[in-house]
């Protein structure tokens, strides 16, 4: 079993953090993982993406030609990565910000308004966690509880119970959106 995720969006949308949480949860689940970021020197407003590979065997390349899962948080990300997704894979489209759906019909497409869901929970910055919750449900590789505990680990240095709580709600909301 090998799954590869590309999480892509504007800098500031939290795709790097979402990827880190996914990778941490994968390791906690006993899988081999790699997390490879790709972003420019600028952060907020630039484009950012990261690739997470989960496997039950040692991972060769952390650079992936054809990811099995794409999380597209904005249109440029969908435009850039849609054609690369492996046949039979999954694309999550952030329909709050992306007006079109996927052109591919040989894979699973999830149109989820992750920003709107996050806003309804009171924190638009939690859109990344909504998206992560959705792909966790759709792929079924990692239990949601491990994602939640990895998220707590990642955010613990911020010492912010409120932040953890809203992210937990966002993961649940994303999980239940499909």
């Amino acid at each position: 079993m090998e799954q590869s995720f590309v999480l892509a969006g504007f800098g500031g949308q939290g795709v790097i953090l979402a990827g880190k949480i996914l990778a941490q949860a994968g390791a906690d689940h006993g899988l081999q993982v790699t997390w490879l970021p790709s972003y420019g020197p600028e952060m907020r407003g630039g484009t950012a993406n990261c690739t997470v590979v989960l496997s039950d065997e040692p991972i060769g390349s952390p650079v992936v030609d054809n990811p099995t899962v794409l999380v597209a948080m904005n249109l440029p990300s969908l435009d850039r990565f849609e054609k690369t997704v492996a046949k039979g894979g999954t694309i999550l489209i952030n329909s709050s910000l992306i007006a079109r759906t996927a052109e591919r019909n040989d894979l699973q497409v999830l149109n989820v308004p992750v920003n709107d869901i996050a806003v309804s929970l009171g924190n638009s910055h939690a859109a990344n966690m909504v998206a992560l919750g959705t792909v966790i449900k759709a792929t079924g590789t990692i239990p949601l509880e491990l994602i939640k505990s990895a998220m707590v680990k990642m955010l613990s240095h911020k010492d912010n119970a409120e932040l953890v709580a809203v992210n937990q709600q966002a993961l649940d909301a994303g999980y239940n959106a499909v």
Binding site: Q32, T34, P37, G60, V63
Partner: protein, 339 residues
Amino acid sequence: MAEAAICAGCRAYFGYPITPQNEILEYMAARMPAVGGAFVQAESEVAAINMCYGASAAGVRTMTSSSSPGISLKMEGISYLAAADLPCVIINVARGGPGLGNIAPAQGDYFQATKGGGHGDYRMIVLGPATIAEAIEIVMLAFDLADKYRVPVMVLSDGMLGQMMEPIKLAEPVDPGLLPAKPWALTGASGRRPNAVTSYAMDPRDLNRINTKRQTRYRQIEEKEVRYRETETSDATIVVVAYGTVARIARTTVKMARSQGIKLGLVQPITLWPFPYAPLRALSNQVNTIITVEMSAGQMVEDVRLAVCDRAETPFYGELGGLVPTPKDILREVQRNVS
């Protein structure tokens, strides 16, 4: 890599910020004081490497790290370390060059690392890790080799290794107090003859003798310390040679090629100096084609061709400027050479 250095007993780190190696500096700033070591963010790369010279002369396991442009600035200091027979570990988290280049992963520093870089007749052991787990082992090995042969050792990694994450197991930490004694170190001359650490010998006959002795040590290193990893080479008809990040990407290419019936093997040089000439020479009698893949315009390929001569075809595939080849990119080159 920073924690591996601490595990290896490194207790003096000197650095200067540059992307994509700032994580090492940042980690050391917090960690080194916690283990009772010395951390200095120096005023420049030149200062940092010369602080290593001082710490090493005092007998301490010492390290500096930087990325390509910063490593260029350290070259004078590396030559002095080599000339003074001082152990030191230098990590290069290489980026796109030449010049300021960019902060993406690249392998354009191979010549600089393996063929000199600094002035004079010196050699530096150069080790190329492909994964973070390998980097942990290699950093620990680097300290042992540096002490054993009294030479500077470079760990030549790249921006991808510097930025990515994967789970690793750390080795048992070494107690610096239990490391082999360094009778040559400057530890205070009370009760013994003073030691001298210098790179200076005015009389040509003296310098000739000192340099010849050092060259003898280099020959020992070439004899005993060559390290490489072969994957699926035993029945291979075509072989890829790659080091570092490209080697791990090529491991996936080997799987893809094998599933298509192409008998592809992979040779990953781990010591870039001393270079594994002998195993490549042996393979050149078995296969028709040995493809070198690098994130450069073709540097290691010169060593591959030196090993292979005209016993096999030696095409080259490289990506420049910080672009990273994917498993499919490498497979395409393999297919091109099979058909």
